[in-house]
Symmetry: D2
């Protein structure tokens, strides 16, 4: 299949690579010449604009940081709508707000195209391994149509419902994730202050009603889970600033839907505080630093690799 791929960041580049490996012909566009060249070396064809990337393709995939970028890539003079043929489906794997998805879908209909939201979980690790989960919003027909393409990049291709529900699923899951992580951080810190061994406490929670991914897989207390970012200085993983972005989308969506999100709004403030104090690039489980007494973490809260190199969510 001939595919136009726009947005070759930490996630987009390995995704496009997997499309090439699966035998697809891929036109790529990104503002960074360096990442474009890496894909060209792997067999992609470089395009000078989104418009150029989507001319004559059978499918368009976008993977961009925020709704504003998607809007620009779609509607600019040299954008997707300027070059795309009628009937071609646009798959947007960016994580953006559901209201923007609906607006883009209407624009697509006006141009004779279909717009499907398909945000992912699985991080850069899943992107490289081709084991991402895609949460797809669109009609049953559209889902069936995009499933084969997405299968080259992911393991689970889940149909969430109509247009926008892919984003809703992603946002709601990460809302729970942001809350549970901060909740586990509170409980583990409280337990530490009250004198229980962290491994014992983790073990009890993980076999009881408090069990959750944030405790049994990504426990924020160093040493409880050997493979968690907390045990390697909160490096790698899912960056605090990315969690902050997703909680921002969740609270925005809640405002749009006129729904209260008490714990979500508070969790957002906790990650914002981490970011404001300079720890935005640490794994989001570093939120536990807000709770532990000074000197107990052996870190200054400012180191850590780029949080984007994550393997969570």
């Amino acid at each position: 299949m001939k595919i136009g791929f726009i947005g070759l960041g930490n996630m987009g580049a390995p995704m496009a690579l997997n499309l090439l490996k699966a035998g697809h012909a891929v036109n790529v566009f990104d503002l960074s010449a360096q990442v474009v060249q890496a894909l060209v070396d792997a067999g992609a064809k470089a395009a000078g604009s989104p418009k150029a990337a989507v001319t004559d393709v059978e499918c368009v995939i976008t993977m961009l940081p925020a709704a504003a970028h998607v809007r620009s890539v779609l509607s600019a003079d040299d954008g997707v709508f300027a070059g795309i043929a009628k009937g071609v489906t646009i798959i947007d794997s960016s994580t953006i707000d559901p209201a923007s998805v609906k607006a883009f879908a209407e624009l697509a209909v006006q141009h004779g195209n279909t717009f499907v939201d398909a945000p992912v979980s699985g991080g850069t690790g899943g992107a490289a391994a081709g084991t991402l989960t895609f949460m797809v919003g669109g009609s049953a027909d559209a889902y069936e149509q995009v499933k084969p393409v997405l299968s080259a990049m992911g393991k689970n291709i889940v149909h969430c419902g109509d247009t926008g529900t892919g984003q809703v699923a992603k946002i709601c899951n990460n809302l729970v994730l942001g809350i549970t992580m901060a909740g586990v951080a509170e409980a583990m810190s409280l337990g530490e202050a009250l004198g229980i061994d962290s491994k014992v406490l983790g073990g009890i929670i993980n076999t009881s009603t408090g069990r959750c991914w944030s405790s049994d897989t990504y426990n924020p207390m160093p040493g409880v889970i050997e493979t968690a970012p907390s045990t390697r200085g909160y490096t790698g993983g899912f960056g605090t600033d990315l969690m902050l972005k997703d909680l921002g989308l969740a609270t925005d969506a809640a405002k749009f839907a006129r729904q209260p999100v008490y714990l979500g709004a508070l969790a957002q403030q906790l990650y914002q505080t981490m970011s404001t104090k300079g720890a935005g690039r640490l794994d989001f489980s570093a939120v536990i630093k807000l709770y532990r007494k000074d000197g107990k973490d052996g870190k200054d809260g400012k180191d850590g690799k780029d949080g984007k190199d994550g393997d969570a969510s």
Copy 2:
């Protein structure tokens, strides 16, 4: 073994019954003549006071609503310390604050006894089935000593560390539980308002990073998990007022330890609001009623059986 058992409530009565079934001789005391008679009918010996219940026994077990009751049962003129022989161990399975545990343990030492905290999880279902989890705080010797007795009433007998750490484990687990339940309630309500099918959303969360007991076993949105209290009108389960009590213990312990518990303190307010508005006896997953738009739950928030008849925590 000859055991004195004090406190025959919804949890204590089936626990004492299991001791009888295991062949122990059990002296029982409770303020309610009715529950005492039920145990006597099953083979227990009624005692007229805590003092009378513990004379000549090899082990004392208390299962009471709050620290004030434990204090009174221990120290009253006709209390445990007035009748207990030196060297006998007192096992308190009540859920109380760790600071009180330490005070009771010191009193016990002064009387030549050992005090072990052993709060439970598993609810009245686990108490009846003998499948409770006991979280034991005390020395390694004390743990080895009480393990056989507790095994007649529970399946998992976990040694948490020194005196008080059993309570710390219970409190910290339920802190996570109270937060995750409210967090899942927010996310499921937000998803509903944004138009995603609740079963689809539940399915995604339960296989992703948001997965937790509050979502995959006790999901607060009716219909997502067939066996959850939400699907039977929030009856049975773990009562809102009991969760409120445990979050009260958690925030008290945090105050004592001078630790912040942002989400825990906020979750406490949410369950308090439920209780203040008359829903204290519903299962704690009914907290989702705070989020869903009126008319969507088909309930007035005031029905439901006694929340004490729970099978969670």
Copy 3:
């Protein structure tokens, strides 16, 4: 002076009327023919579009519900920029986010105009009486230029700093207001539950360190302040949905500035809950209904006049 006035809602209409009373010639535009006619009856000249309203004027004033309306009024084909002469100043008295202000100001510069943000406080009462406070963001020159025009509609014309700072002042003040009102509601409800007379408690707070406008002027407990909306069933005043809008702007601005706003985000959830449960049109002091036990307020939370007819903020 010849002025174009766009947006004749509950606030805009009386403001335009005061301009007429001061002797200005006013072109008016609004989507509602009815409100336009009322102004025409008072001496204004009706315009068929924003473009038509601003042709040949010396000053343009906009008073609109949200940033999206301002954007449309400015940039539509028959919008302000299509008709305005170079050098004319646009005064926007809408309450919108500071980032949009800066975007509009840049557009204005491109068209050879100056854009000044001048949101108001004082409510519909102040608008009618011509006693509004205007918080002006713009250069010192621009401030001096708009001051005489604004003086026809308000009593205090405050220069807040550069473009956008008028909105910052408005948003930050209302952030404090939303928090203090909910805080006073908590304290008055707690005092009531603990048995102190509400008037006595109000009196103590109002002469002590807890004193604030939300207590000494707008106390949410009925009967404490005779002239407060709480004493007349939470009618009139400043509507819950308007406070919710302003807290939405504050939390959006905080997200933009990467600043935590813990209490603001939580207060937003409280007003959102009121709105979700159907009380959005009551005065925002009705937030106390979330705290008082059922049956103590004699209201069902759904009555009340349109919150827009307010005299606060």
Copy 4:
């Protein structure tokens, strides 16, 4: 009048001094020989125990850190009840929980005495100057009886209602205070981040609906109010740990009364975080340090004099 005074801390010592100045004969007791000697030098008579201090007096005044101290001073073998004559009134000016007040009042009745709660506001400055406010809980008769004695130490002697309502008034006022201070800190920090001058913003808030003592008298942003602790490095004033104690009392009272206190519980966490991070002795307005970006406050959050030397609340 002959008075027994127990508790000569930062508040108690100057209060006892003012009784001496007013011509009363005062027996004093404190665990610190040094503070007792200072009072003896001023004309007081030292007592070796609370019992000794209250023998033959016409009135007893206690000023102690917490309810546990009051309980001990009243009920110990050499305590107040062991020495006091029937009919003598006990005035407790400590800040403690209303439930303890009621328990102490019942004990007093059993001994033939009257117990009046009379917590103060005005800080050490007001204690020295004799300008404290006393919030008195007790019968109208008891109020009339204690008023002359309290007038030697304070300016406003307010009758709040029955026993315990003095504490309720104090706690509810400080609940509002703790919330408004953190709210003002959020708004001033947000304004700073958004580029408005802090003095301008403070001026607008202080003449608008956001005005409150925490902004117009004790503004947490340095330089806005010249006489505020923020302008002198957060020294002096009302210590963070004291505010934390009072919010602890408020949330405890709310738990007792089964009332939600959303903002109060969250504010408690903010001051707890300050204390946990080492800033407990700074004035409570230092809570703004949680919000401002690093490097903007020129402080490390750990300096500052003893927060007890306060002039607020």
